[in-house]
């Protein structure tokens, strides 16, 4: 029994980077994400006996985290999530750094403004690399819903990035 508990905890530790990234995707701020992560782990540990070992632990944790996030959002009357902090971008050309920081800010802002359910799907598929079936299992939704939410999320994020996209076609003369 003690071995199983230990194995469960070690498996949980192995998932921490992915869980932290998912928490950051949902909560936006670093502090909010860390607290959401810790709440999810606390819940998982206190309810570990309810964990169905035939189910993937990552899916179970993603689901716990999303439920906690939804509960917290309901508690504050559907308030928008906190704007994400923009990290430093490495580079030698000062202008490129400014442009990259601006692009990252816009992308983060667009991502933060997505509805919760779209943000969760995009985080799992695009950031975590989950298959549609894995994302559907983790979020307890049909694969068709994963596809539609993902399409809408991608379209919203794409409106804010530079490149060949129509919504950001403009470049200044050098």
């Amino acid at each position: 029994m003690a071995d199983r508990v230990s194995e469960f905890r070690e498996e949980l530790v192995g998932l921490l980077p992915r869980l932290r990234k998912f928490a950051r995707a949902l909560a936006g701020s670093r502090d909010g994400a860390e607290d959401l992560l810790q709440s999810a782990i606390e819940r998982a540990l206190t309810r570990s006996t309810a964990y169905d070992e035939t189910r993937r632990l990552d899916s179970w944790m993603f689901k716990i985290m999303q439920n906690l996030w939804i509960d917290s959002r309901r508690a504050i009357a559907q308030a928008p999530i906190q704007d994400m902090e923009t990290p430093d971008v490495q580079g030698e050309d000062g202008r490129e750094i400014v442009e990259s920081r601006e692009e990252l800010r816009l992308v983060r802002e667009a991502f933060a403004q997505l509805p919760d359910e779209q943000r969760a799907v995009m985080a799992l598929v695009v950031l975590d690399g989950a298959s549609y079936a894995e994302a559907a299992a983790a979020l307890d939704i049909p694969i068709g819903t994963v596809m539609s939410r993902l399409a809408r999320a991608r379209a919203s994020v794409a409106t804010r990035v530079r490149g060949p996209a129509l919504l950001a076609p403009l470049r200044k003369h050098n």
Binding site: L16, S39, Q82, M84, R108
Partner: protein, 224 residues
């Protein structure tokens, strides 16, 4: 039809070999689909960069140690609830400011009857012939105050124009446009990056999916 869900499944390698081959063939025949596909890829890459740029592992040692040793009980009040409430108050102030702004019409911007027809009836991704060239609506979106707009590109032998037109009192009006004279250089009468600035002023865009767009087209763009 190559909608965004299919293109997404193509990017995510969720199609079977036969489906993938067929989708690749259709993409090859559709410049609009190629543009939408590239837009998705650029967006995905930017999002991954945004998250990769931060120190994801920070703090993991402490949490990992707590997981291994057992978790101490914590106060019922969650920090992230309080943090979100504060953020909500701040953001509501920002949104309130944005609601007072709307896209401004620029001088000399004109929609021909066939362009109006394209805005009215053409689904996103479909190229239609207009006088002097082609026009393709890239996407439809709604702003925070509910206005519906479409972004489109017109291409002629002389120039390429990217623009946003919004539905206003039953008519389409151009909110912003920019003329590309070369592949990488654009000139515009407005401030730099006016299309992105226009979307920004609208408080961000909520892109309509194919079904929502089709419903609006069928209803002649009257409110859903």
């Amino acid at each position: 039809m190559l909608n965004d869900e299919v293109l997404g499944a193509y990017i995510d390698d969720e199609l079977g070999p036969d489906q993938r081959g067929e989708v690749e063939r259709l993409i090859g025949e559709s410049p609009g689909a190629q543009m939408r596909l590239e837009r998705m890829r650029v967006g995905d890459a930017a999002l991954r960069r945004a998250f990769a740029a931060e120190s994801v592992g920070a703090g993991s040692d402490n949490v990992a140690e707590l997981v291994r040793r057992g978790w101490p009980s914590r106060p019922a009040t969650r920090m992230f609830w309080a943090g979100s409430a504060i953020a909500a108050a701040c953001l509501l102030g920002v949104i309130g400011g944005r609601l007072t702004q709307s896209p401004q019409l620029g001088p000399g911007m004109h929609l021909s009857p066939d362009m109006i027809a394209a805005l009215e009836y053409a689904p996103s991704g479909e190229s239609v012939a207009v006088s002097g060239g082609e026009m393709e609506v890239a996407l439809s979106f709604s702003g925070e105050s509910g206005e519906v707009c479409r972004q489109y590109r017109t291409t002629s032998s002389q120039q390429r124009v990217d623009a946003i037109a919004c539905r206003d009192s039953g008519a389409w009006r151009i909110a912003v446009q920019a003329v590309a004279v070369e592949s990488q250089a654009y000139r515009t009468a407005a401030a730099s990056d006016p299309i992105a600035a226009t979307v920004e002023r609208m408080g961000g865009a909520s892109v309509l999916d194919a079904d929502e767009e089709q419903t609006l087209i069928a209803n002649r763009w009257r409110a859903r």
